[in-house]
């Protein structure tokens, strides 16, 4: 689907046409553009990086420069059909509180994140004894924005603690979708669809 990153393509394929969508950490707006053009969605974005916001606005998207840790509080309850958080949860100051906010502003939420329990990461730590730098997590520990690494099983547990229902999950390795069995070992990235 239009060259989207696999996790974003999975999300795009499962957003109902004509929905109201908030894309948190929308980057250059690739997912928003697809949702607006192909699904007739009313897509809004939030992005911290001003240069990316400028690119979004100059391509006609509605994107607010803001910090998801703080600025989600300004949206009313259930303002969106979907709140999307792609590869941003692990950068949050408090991922648990951000998940609460996600499920408050959206009727449903999509969350994607790199799985820290992927076998490459495990091996790198086990054998190398150093913080893993892998294909999925390419930045060294002192530079990475990923301050709260999370695994597939950790996320399932957080969802359970928050009373969120996992409606569906998708797993990816090497840019391809893989099955759910042993996903906590095999998946480089995961996407969860939640509701509450």
């Amino acid at each position: 689907m239009t060259g989207l990153r696999p996790d974003l393509a999975a999300i795009a394929a499962h957003v109902a046409p004509g929905s109201r969508v908030l894309d948190i950490g929308c980057g250059d707006g690739a997912l928003m553009a697809v949702l607006e053009a192909q699904s007739g969605c009313d897509a809004r974005g939030m992005e911290l990086d001003g240069a990316l916001v400028e690119r979004c606005v100059s391509r006609g998207l509605s994107v607010v420069q803001g910090d998801a840790n703080l600025d989600l509080a300004n949206y009313p309850d259930k303002a969106f059909d979907y709140a999307i958080l792609s590869q941003t949860l692990q950068t949050a100051t408090r991922p648990d509180l951000m998940l609460d906010e996600l499920l408050r502003v959206g009727r449903r939420a999509f969350v994607s994140f790199p799985n820290f329990a992927h076998w490459r990461t495990r091996l790198a730590l086990l054998l190398g004894g150093r913080m893993p730098v892998t294909r999925a997590l390419p930045v060294s520990w002192y530079e990475t924005q990923n301050i709260h690494h999370v695994t597939v099983e950790d996320f399932r547990e957080l969802a359970r603690l928050k009373g969120a229902k996992v409606e569906r999950a998708w797993f990816f390795s090497n840019e391809k979708q893989i099955g759910a069995p042993a996903a906590n070992w095999r998946a480089e990235f995961a996407v969860f669809k939640l509701s509450r």
Partner: protein, 369 residues
Amino acid sequence: MPPMNAAPPASPVYRISQPLPLDSGQVLENCEIAYETYGTLAPDASNAVLVCHALTGDQYLASPHPITGKPGWWERMVGPGKPIDTNRHFVICANVIGSCMGSSGPASLAPDGQPYAMRFPVITIRDMVRGLVALLDGLGIERLHAVVGGSMGGMQALSLAANWPDRAARVLVIASTARHSAQNIAFHEVGRQAIMADPAWAEGDYYAAQAKPDNGLAVARMAAHITYLSEAGLTEKFGRRLQDRDAKSFGFDADFQVESYLRYQGSGFTRRFDANSYLYITRAMDYFDIAEEHGGKLADAFGGTQARFCLVSFDTDWLYPTAESRHIVHALNAAGAKVSFVELSAPHGHDSFLLEHDQLDRVVKGFVE
């Protein structure tokens, strides 16, 4: 020197046939709006962009100023192939009421044939926009493709969106605010007091006199001009460098370049601006508080709006800092409006919106297109 109150010849003037009702409860009879247009209005009038000017701006958006001869104040943004492209859009810029470039203001003649001076009613930003809406009616423009404004122009754009929500499809607000802060009001009060302390002000009744309150107006402009610049910008431009001398004079001449610059800005301003207009327009800005007009909650001002909004702030703007834009963005989010917001980095403070800025150009182009 030409008389201050002589209307410049160039701009067409629209006469509002009905008395214009004002927020004060008064009405303005025979109200006139001087305006300039650029580009061609589409047969269905769908391509109109209204650009609103700032405190001391005017309708000479993209054409030379008749008094100073300088290029239009936003010529770098508006024109053929520019971010606001006059090949595609019909761009309108009108002098606000209360001002002095051809629209009704304190220098205009009252029904008794004498200048209004301080008999001119106190106006608000919403009153200015009432005048602009009357002009749009006169031009046959039901719904603007976009309304655009920086600083006080942004206040007008917001006021139009809040009070005439069907009149604009896009609302672009740059370096502006939804309310004047205590600090904003304080700086304006310094300016007004400087004008009123000038003996030549004569309770505003100076139009027939030899002397105008130029000294007071110049000081007002000097004080305001500081608020338009950043400290880093002033330091970079002037530092502590001396003006045309090698040593301090141990006197009160303009020893420093920054003093000389401010004096030049102040005196240049008096050639093109009416002191009473400065009083009236700063008052209108100080009274501005959109939330107050709508029951105290800013989000309520924009409830149900179908317009798309874009807000832009500059990181070095301490007159209308980013927090003010964010405040508007939060209200628009709460109202469910389609809104974009970006804080741009620029060294020159509030005035950055008038200066060269590629990112601003791209945002304006992308949003207005």
